[in-house]
């Protein structure tokens, strides 16, 4: 079992290394002008340089912070609102049409609105991230709360659970698998919008770094930024997955 997993891991690492190798060969053969496509060696050197000066670390922290705060904001709102809508038919009736109107709006469409109210500020970026990342969480939470096995409601009544206990002990854990699916989607959206927000509002971060590197034809720096963004996505998703595996360990029976 463990050997199998190690083997798969080794294989996926090998594929990754293979792609880096191809990239190096393509760059060395100058298939694309080095102005646009530096080799991995140059990108690595740019990474080293950036971290040595401390500059890149600041950008990474800026982007990660924005992503996490915006994501937390969206999660809190999405799960709270989703729970309310999932449990209460009245809330669904009151809020439904408004949410259906807001939901299809692309996050980029509300950027000008957010700028009008909040200026090119950190708050504006957070609002845009929060708005964009809200929907996957909201929809998943509504679904999770609404899809409780009816038998469990009868069990709750027979046991004499209070309404609050039913929400906390039945509906919420029941919605957890859906909520995690929403959290994962929301995380991706949050990273995308953090980058977009930085580019639009000129906030310190990897998005702005990439934009400025591209404008200055500093291709190695640009690639260093892209690589870091990929790593942020990879690591954050892996962290979330391990939390999910623990929280939902009842779903994978070990005999």
């Amino acid at each position: 079992m463990i050997w199998r997993r190690a083997l798969w891991l080794a294989a996926s690492v090998l594929v990754g290394l293979g792609i880096v190798l191809l990239w190096q060969l393509a760059a060395d053969a100058r298939l694309v002008s080095p102005v646009f496509l530096p080799g991995p060696d140059k990108a690595w050197a740019a990474l080293e340089r950036g971290f040595a000066s401390g500059e890149l670390l600041d950008k990474v922290l800026g982007t990660v912070g924005r992503m996490v705060w915006g994501w937390l904001l969206a999660s809190l709102l999405g799960i709270g609102l989703g729970a309310l809508i999932g449990i209460s038919p009245a809330a669904r009736a009151y809020l439904g049409p408004t949410l259906e109107f807001l939901r299809p709006l692309p996050a980029s469409a509300i950027v000008p609105v957010a700028i009008a109210f909040l200026g090119l500020s950190e708050g504006m970026v957070l609002v845009v991230i929060g708005f964009g990342a809200l929907w996957p969480m909201l929809l998943a939470t509504v679904h999770g709360f609404a899809a409780v096995e009816p038998r469990l409601y009868e069990v709750s009544r027979a046991l004499g659970l209070s309404r609050w206990e039913v929400i906390a002990k039945i509906a919420l854990p029941n919605a957890l698998p859906d909520i995690f699916a929403g959290l994962r989607l929301g995380l991706t959206v949050a990273l995308i919008l953090a980058v977009v927000g930085e580019m639009l509002a000129s906030r310190e971060g990897l998005g702005l770094w990439i934009l400025l590197s591209a404008r200055a034809f500093r291709a190695p720096d640009l690639f260093a930024g892209v690589i870091l963004l990929g790593l942020i996505g990879l690591v954050s998703a892996a962290l979330l997955s391990s939390v999910e595996r623990y929280a939902l360990r009842w779903r994978t029976p070990v005999h």
Partner: protein, 270 residues
Amino acid sequence: MTARAATAPASLAPPAAREPLIRFRAVELTLAGRRILDPISLDIGRGEFVCVVGPSGCGKTTLLRLIAGLYLPSGGQVLYDGKPVSGPRQDIAIVFQDYGKALLPWRTAAGNVSLALEAIGMPRAERPARIAALLATVGLSNHADKFPGQLSGGMQQRLQIARCLAQAPSVLLMDEPFGALDAMTRQALQDEVLALAASSGATVFFVTHDLEEAIYLGDRVVALRPNPGRVADMFDVRLSRPRDQLTTREHPDFLRLRRTLFDFIKESEA
């Protein structure tokens, strides 16, 4: 702790103790325009083990849900301890057939039992000892930390029974609880339920489609007829207790009652 019938001579017992614990008084039920039950009158005594049989659609489960307070009658009254049933109550526990749906899959065996204790407001510090005792009662002591998905069907049903016992119920309602289990497990659980009923003194209302199970377990077998559901007949079971899977089932009275019930069901399905 349950209100048991007094052991004193009947004449000395207070009137309430001689009253049946559960009374159906001309109870009828219509759901969504469909007549489910014709007026039914039925008394169930304290500590009695009543089994209900009948073809599908005869309203067996409906009767159980009326006692549970999950349905309210369209006409007539269901009385519990002399008062009309208005909704579920904690001293009436239900064991559902579909244990897979009735247990919380995200809670361990101990956690599932704990849910009932949390519902009755038992302080956190007192729960572990009570949970351990209840799991021991149903033979799940070694599986306290397993999730329902890791338990066999028989163990899951035992767990559900333990959770019901945690309510310290006066009445145990069992809705075809062993219908989905294999024969060996079913017999073992039948004997466990008999032992639990005897030791707790709880009144049991047991719905089944298995006639032999009904005779083996019950003090009385109520036979229903379908479309709409109504009581067709009642049979007292005078077999001695404790019952035994071999000798009881071979007893001439058992076989005679089995024949009567089979004929009855065949006739009512014809």
